[in-house]
């Protein structure tokens, strides 16, 4: 093997080794639990069974899966709807101010996820800032119960992952040649048709990347539903958490986790395919 062919492999080696040791092996380990029976006091009894996978398909749990998917999807759509205009505004700002605006967009990341989520409790509480503000403005009715609702969970998810979506969409928008939009105007399309037929289709890979990101992180999330949903709105993440730490049913938790990871992998592959298609899969066809 030549030096040039070896070097990329060598450079990737530490990363790959890290991933294998701390990601692939533990995942496979946990996955293997799914094929065994539960131990009486937690842990695993090494008797082969497929029963855990059968339980995942149980309507009760399938419903939680679907519910998680619905919440994650809502969070994804809301995040995209908020992030797109923000990313658009940043990409149209003067070159010099764009990094500053991006800095502010990702600023929340600099604090801890838990603290950020707790902050929402302070805001949404019956005795929280929003209710106090409403009272100060003269609202006299019952305090609004905003905390421990599905909307609170969605709000928390959107808030936490929004910066990713802004960055993903911004990166495609900023690489877009502004003359494409001008060409569209020049050819007779107004601003709306220009957006729908040129800007949006060309930035879909960024929207997809950001969207899949929010969806994948949301569907498996357990901190936000636990804190802002008050445990009333169970998502798959909480279910998995409960199996391992409360119900002591590791094999079933592993089976649920496997189903979750499979869902994420399928989505990521779909997104990668869509992006590859959008950016030059056709090139290959031409060369054939």
């Amino acid at each position: 093997m030549s030096f040039n062919a070896t070097r990329p492999t060598l450079l990737a080696a530490p990363g790959v080794a890290w991933l294998v040791a701390f990601m692939v092996v533990p995942c496979l380990l946990v996955l293997s639990y799914a094929f065994f029976q539960r131990g009486v006091w937690g842990g695993v009894e090494y008797t082969f069974t497929l029963e855990n996978f059968a339980r995942v398909a149980d309507p009760l749990y399938a419903k939680i899966f679907l519910n998680s998917a619905r919440i994650a999807l809502t969070a994804t759509v809301v995040a995209i709807l908020i992030a797109y205009p923000a990313a658009y505004a940043i990409s149209r700002a003067p070159r010099m101010t764009q990094p500053i605006l991006l800095f502010f967009a990702v600023l929340p990341f600099w604090s801890n996820y838990l603290i950020r989520t707790y902050a929402w409790i302070v805001l949404l509480n019956r005795e929280g800032l929003i209710n106090n503000l409403l009272r100060a403005l003269g609202y006299t009715g019952e305090p609004l119960s905003m905390l421990y609702t599905e909307s609170a969970v969605i709000t928390g998810l959107v808030y936490n992952y929004l910066p990713f979506v802004i960055l993903a969409i911004y990166s495609t928008l900023s690489r877009l040649n502004p003359e494409l939009m001008e060409a569209s105007r020049d050819l007779g399309a107004g601003p709306v048709r220009t957006f729908l037929r040129v800007t949006l289709p060309l930035t879909l890979p960024g929207v997809a990347a950001g969207g899949v990101f929010v969806f994948v992180l949301s569907i498996g999330n357990f901190v936000t539903p636990a804190l802002l949903g008050g445990g009333r709105f169970q998502m798959v993440g909480n279910l998995v958490y409960d199996q391992f730490l409360t119900a002591n049913d590791w094999p079933f938790g592993a089976a649920l986790g496997a189903a979750l990871i499979l869902t994420m992998i399928v989505l990521l592959l779909l997104q990668a395919r869509a992006t590859a298609h959008a950016s030059g899969e056709r090139k290959g066809e031409a060369e054939r």
């Binding site: 001008e182 060409a183 050819l187 399309a189 090139k283």
Partner: protein, 350 residues
């Protein structure tokens, strides 16, 4: 006056500044129907800003832009019957050649059959038919350039604006496309306004040209006019090759520099610069002609040779163009004499 010389576009006292920078300074210009007009100038001269104001992407601070007598300056780009061919071509990467061409007609809400007919027709004219279903990234530079042109032409604009249309092409292809563009302009019967920094390109293609510098219009005229009678020293230097000799004009109207005297018309007394093209200087053996010089360099151009001749009259050697064939055996270091044709001289007072 026949209809072909009527102004289709009138730029009236148009000015544009970006903050403290004046990009276009009070430009007034008439562009006639069906002409191939070139806006020529060095980079930063305001030619692109002027073009963008015509297309509607910048609005002038002062003045008006009249298309067939109607002020179009308040209209957004999509409402103007002008089309722009972008320097970067700006082809839609997610659309095929056919879709790129159809786009502008779909915006006019034409019937599908009509769109198809016009797109087919335009693709045939620009030799794009075999590439109808290709995406821009599958095209060569020259093909992309033709798609950009076709996409604008298919709209049948009253005026087609072209921003450095040949800038991205290599020299051979550029020369071919210069003639190609001229042919298409003729066939389509559309007024073309082209922006370029390449004076040769402007000379080859344009019916008339305008030379801009620092946002100001220096001269407007046919290529021959501008080449032979440049309005000032800048234009003289910018178009083609020009020799400059600093000297002064005496009370007798005679231009004089060290070892050289020329009787040129239109000179005012005082410090002046004489401009003479390399092809308007004759050479002979020492003593034949009034100006003595020594060859410092010889550049062979195929068809002709350019001698660089040091004389007492100017700091920089004068360039003299002589035919390559029958040029004699001039070598570097040879002494010779020069004769400047007074009829072909231009004098610019300092």
């Amino acid at each position: 006056m026949n209809s072909s010389s009527n102004p289709i576009l009138r730029i009236e006292g148009v000015g544009k500044s970006f903050g403290p920078v004046t990009a276009v300074d009070n430009v007034t210009l008439d562009i006639r129907e069906n002409e191939f007009f070139a806006l020529l100038g060095p980079s930063g001269c305001g030619k692109t800003t002027l073009l963008r104001m015509l297309a509607g992407f910048e609005s002038p601070n002062t003045g008006r832009i009249l298309l067939e007598g109607k002020d179009i300056s308040p209209l957004p780009p999509e409402k103007r019957p002008l089309n722009l061919m972008f320097q970067s071509y700006a082809l839609f990467p997610h659309m095929t050649v056919r879709q790129n061409l159809s786009y502008g007609l779909e915006m006019e809400r034409l019937a599908k059959a009509e769109i198809r007919r016009r797109v087919d027709e335009t693709m045939a004219m620009t030799d794009l038919t075999p590439f109808a279903d290709r995406k821009p990234e599958q095209l060569s530079g020259g093909q992309k350039q033709r798609v950009a042109l076709a996409r604008a032409l298919v709209k049948r604009p009253k005026v087609l604006l072209l921003d450095e249309p040949l800038g991205a092409l290599d020299k051979k292809l550029r020369e071919r496309m210069q003639l190609e563009l001229k042919r298409m302009q003729n066939e389509a019967g559309i007024t073309f306004i082209i922006v370029t920094h390449d004076q040769e390109e402007a000379l080859v293609m344009a019916d008339r040209m305008a030379i801009l510098k620092d946002g100001r219009l220096l001269q407007v005229g046919a290529p021959e006019e501008v080449y032979e009678r440049p309005a000032d020293r800048f234009v003289a230097n910018f178009i083609g090759v020009m020799n400059f000799i600093d000297g002064k004009v005496g009370a007798d109207g005679l231009f004089a520099a060290e070892g050289l005297q020329v009787k040129a018309a239109g000179a005012k007394a005082g410090a002046a610069t004489l401009a003479i093209r390399p092809e308007n200087i004759a050479i002979g053996p020492p003593g034949d002609h009034p100006v003595a010089g020594t060859i410092t360099d010889i550049a062979y151009h195929g068809l002709d040779r350019v001698l660089h001749v040091k004389t007492a009259a100017s700091e920089t050697p004068l360039q003299v163009r002589i035919p390559a064939s029958g040029a004699g055996n001039w070598k570097i270091g040879d002494a010779l004499s020069l004769k400047i044709d007074p009829a072909k001289c231009r004098l610019f007072n300092a």
